[in-house]
Symmetry: C4
Subunit: 281 residues, 4 copies
């Protein structure tokens, strides 16, 4: 690969990094444009507003598409590995940000376009990725990753509970009270177990209401489970980061977490990093 | 008992264990079939679909029943202690998986069958039991077991609260606002305390709404209790696993469990980690 | 006070204590009767059942009242300090358990009676008090007591939030959308903030729905506060009870939590309970 | 600045402090008046009551305004730095407490006045600020401050989730099922994700209900995140206050903060609590 031209390097700094003032300014404008394009989507979906300003919204959408398209091409141009960028998660999101207006040329009534246009919001995360808030997101993600297996077991149990209760309610209440099928019963069971409680389908028989009571108490109690899992993991992750508690074990007593700067074990007093060569006594 | 024939041993390995490739393949297919049979139950309960494909679903159900019956007989045949298996929790579940189609021969409209067929889902857990996810489930179960007594006290208090509030609302609001009996009042109180809030029965009088406010605030606050109990137990269980409460014995009096950070034996006061060699001063 | 007669002493053992087999049997029967009397109240409130068995329920109520009255008089008779018992919390509850049937002689339609009869349920707690479950209740109570001040601050903030939001919604939505007064607005705000969400009153205007969104997100986020407070307190209370961590401080280094049986400080190795008289060296 | 006159000093003590009996009495009366003025606002908003006592409420409002105005002027007069007080948060709240009645002279139907009058409730916090409850509020605030960044990341993720799900539901369910625009879809998504579940808008199609199930499970699971963040922070804040991270300096190298359980200095390895006197062997 030839050495990148100065223009490409400058563009790369501005578009992909935030170390320079220009890079930060670019990112700020990008966020403003993304949010503006989102606002247009939101307002465009309100019928009263759409009827009055629909044309303007269309124009604006073309403007945003143009900008995002130029930006996408520039990203492709200045990226050191264009193919890798193009197929990365954010590369695909960037491409999706450009597509809606073009698709609309062919299918004028494609409802799906709206969702694609909303997905542009995900691009905000790319910009934020470069900022220091991500350290905190890392905490959350590592806590979530640490509790993944526990959460899968939890979700499996919840799924079983919900299926059994859904089928039970379908049998007990039946279609005449809104439980027209087992999937609908499951929908109701999820609504109840998660304490959402829409109230669009509710038990009418005494037995149904008794089981509903059981489901609600269960849901109210097991909400503790994901919370407990996550809190314990997060407390773990934060304790390890406290600076005081990095994990290098004492070579003698194997006490594992030590202050970051510790030279001697705080339990047995032996040197944590003994002389590399055996001392000639 | 005579030594098991090679066939029985191989079957036992395949059906009850996952150590071999064949065993894993068998388990995977079993899960697929269980989920497929569940899907048929779900779809069969939707009237539109049932009217079109009802016959096919019946045929499929007979297929699943045949497979599960053969599997059940094989399990009985190859199990080292057939009686013990037959009366174990999962043995009974396995038997239940076979029954619905046969019962349907005699009672064609038995609604209960649907629930029995859904219970097949529990069989998935047996298969999962053999996988490493269960270590995580053990964590959760041990945390739940540790907090059992606290949770019983909590549920007793909630039951009392709910009964008193239910009776109060029945007296205040009365049948004309949907609180037609005390059990209905209790149902409403559970709905409100657990923050589900269906909205099928709601207080209409000022006094009733004031008490409802009280119930909601109570429910919102005491949701902390099961969460707190469980989180504290789980953090406990995880900490103990963390190796933080490691058992290092005193070199003199051999007292075995010590605080994780102990430097001196709490019984005889001698250093747990004596200087490796007396310093040549 | 003269020495109690043997009969009084035996009665006192049976009625107030659970150390003897007779005492335990008495308590078990008492719980059964309390729950049976509660069941009668619940069933009596269902109109269909009341119309058929109302007379039987009346008779049963008189039976329960007779039993509870005899029990109350016996308690008064055998208690070492009858006056103190009569005015204790459970003494008053015991008296209340007897009153409803007698009041009903004079006011045949007193709705309040139902609530008084339900309050009998509280008597179950007295019986349970003597059992070992109360250790767990003590944990919960001590955690709640420890977090009392924090919870008051929290409830004050929630009250302010709810009042301001209630007034705001009354102004924005107005009586035509169900927000007919500020108290009603507050009722709605509590319903929303606690994530109960009955749906009997819901915002209809765009501005109202925006504020509702704000209230919901707030409620969803600050549910963390009581949970966090309680969990932290409970973890604290449990850690101290672990048996490993009783609080007697080392006289030299002041390390405070030690194993219950510790004789020497685990940090500095000095005796936790030095010889009472200075050692004559 | 000249020395304050004795009157101004006395007033300052009474109005701004609670150290004296007069100061405490003043604060108590102030709270009573604030709550009374709030009660008048609440009752005044109930139409039935307003029609009967509206005139009295008007008179009372003028009384409160007069009192608060005098109090405000006195605060300005006796404060050592009047300007700073006037533009402080509570200074502005105090001014707002006086305005409503005066504004009402010019705009008789200003609905906004009600909200301004309710904001008086915030003044209660100023009074409480001087009490010892604030130590607890500080705990909560410091825990909230510590988790600010994590909570921003969390709210950003929730916003994205809610926007995408809202757009999705708008496309799937459409205006005929109440999802008349994307903002309305977002409002529904927030209602569902926060487990409030009003039930004013609910999915009717199978696909919509499936996605609703997903949203509910998500909301039920991620409620763990703010709880976990806050609990971990609060436990941290309380542990640090617990004296567990006490600063005991090394007697040789004087390194000051050590792990709570450290027996040896982590920098120089010398015993933190050397033997009180070398044992005479």
């Amino acid at each position: 690969m030839p050495a990148p031209s100065p223009l490409r390097e400058t563009l790369y700094q501005v578009i992909f990094h935030v170390d320079t003032a220009a890079g930060r300014r670019f990112d700020t404008w990008l966020i403003v444009l993304i949010l503006a394009s989102l606002l247009v989507v939101l307002l465009d979906s309100i019928e009263v507003i759409q009827q009055r300003y629909g044309l303007w919204f269309n124009l604006l959408e073309w403007g945003f598409t143009l900008f995002f398209a130029v930006e996408y091409l520039l990203r492709l141009y200045c990226s050191p590995r264009p193919a890798r960028y193009a197929f990365s998660f954010f590369g695909l999101i960037d491409l999706l940000a450009v597509l809606p207006a073009f698709i609309a040329l062919f299918y004028s009534e494609a409802q799906l376009l709206i969702v694609i246009r909303v997905i542009r919001l995900l691009r905000v995360f790319r910009v934020l990725k470069l900022r220091h808030y991500l350290v905190q997101a890392n905490f959350l993600l590592s806590a979530l990753r640490g509790s993944r297996q526990k959460i899968i077991v939890f979700l499996l149990s919840v799924s079983t509970l919900v299926t059994v209760f859904g089928a039970l309610m379908y049998v007990i209440e039946g279609p005449e009270h809104g439980f027209s099928s087992i999937p609908k019963g499951i929908y109701w069971a999820v609504t109840t177990l998660t304490t959402v409680g829409f109230g669009d389908i509710t038990p009418k028989t005494a037995l149904g209401q008794t089981i509903a009571t059981l489901v609600m108490i269960t849901g109210y109690s097991i909400i503790a489970v994901p919370t407990g899992i996550f809190t314990a993991e997060l407390a773990n992750a934060m304790r390890q980061d406290n600076g005081l508690h990095l994990a290098h074990a004492c070579p003698r007593c194997h006490k594992a977490p030590h202050e970051a700067m510790a030279a001697f074990c705080s339990r047995c007093g032996s040197a944590l990093y003994p002389a590399p060569a055996p001392k000639p006594d």
